[in-house]
Amino acid sequence: MIVIAKIAVAILILMGALICLAASFGTLRLPDMYTRSHAASKGSTLGVNMILLGVFFFLWFITGEISAKILLGIFFIFITSPVGGHLICRAAYNSGVKLDERSVQDDYNGIRNFVIKRKEDSYL
């Protein structure tokens, strides 16, 4: 029983770490800020949550302690991580970060009129 529990915990933690690794590859490989934000906000949510779930089960099965703090942490990451991705994207668009040239459609263009006009030699 303990062996099975340990294997399950190991699988959870390894899967979480692998998903985090893939998400960081995504932030390196994807072309523009918005698609990077996809990888960051989704990959890290599930990765970190799987690691936390693995730690929770480890504490439960091996030491017999049910840690409510970890469950609260999972809940808060679920709630806050998508909101973070949304806010970063919105701030980037409204301060004038361009979409990748492969983009085919932009319905949001011109909805907000407080877009800051940057100079040509700006770092954006």
């Binding site: 893939a22 072309p31 996809h38 990888a39 949510t45 994207c89 492969r102 983009s103 459609q105």
Partner: protein
Amino acid sequence: MAFQILLNVFLAFCWMFLSNDASAAGFITGFILGMISLFFFRRFLAHPFYLWKIFSIIKLFLIFIRELYLANVSVLKTVLSPKLDIKPGIFAFKTELTKDWEITLLSLLITLTPGTLVMDISDDRTILYIHAMDIEDAEKAIFDIRESFEKAIQEVSR
């Protein structure tokens, strides 16, 4: 719904006093008996029986978990494929939800759907601007959002 839960707790306390049993087991027995009596008196209540709503909340939670898993699989496929042939874009999505917390929940769910991310919500709270990783799936994404998420949220808020 909150009123019905309070009524149920009150009935459970009534049962505890009646049977002179101040323990958790007595409370649970009284809660179940109160739930049964509330179920039989449901036509006198203003809203539908609250257990159905709890079931729909659980359903929404399961949809949430499934979508998170699918989103990660699709991101992994895109990132780890040797050639990046994606067509990103932003599309507008007209929502039928009206309350603020419903729209918040919907945008949270959309952000965790495969390949979509909420960019902004229009000022009159009717249009969501969604950035999609692959715009050719956008039609399908709109259909999925309408069919699964909006229905599930409407079931909870009904």
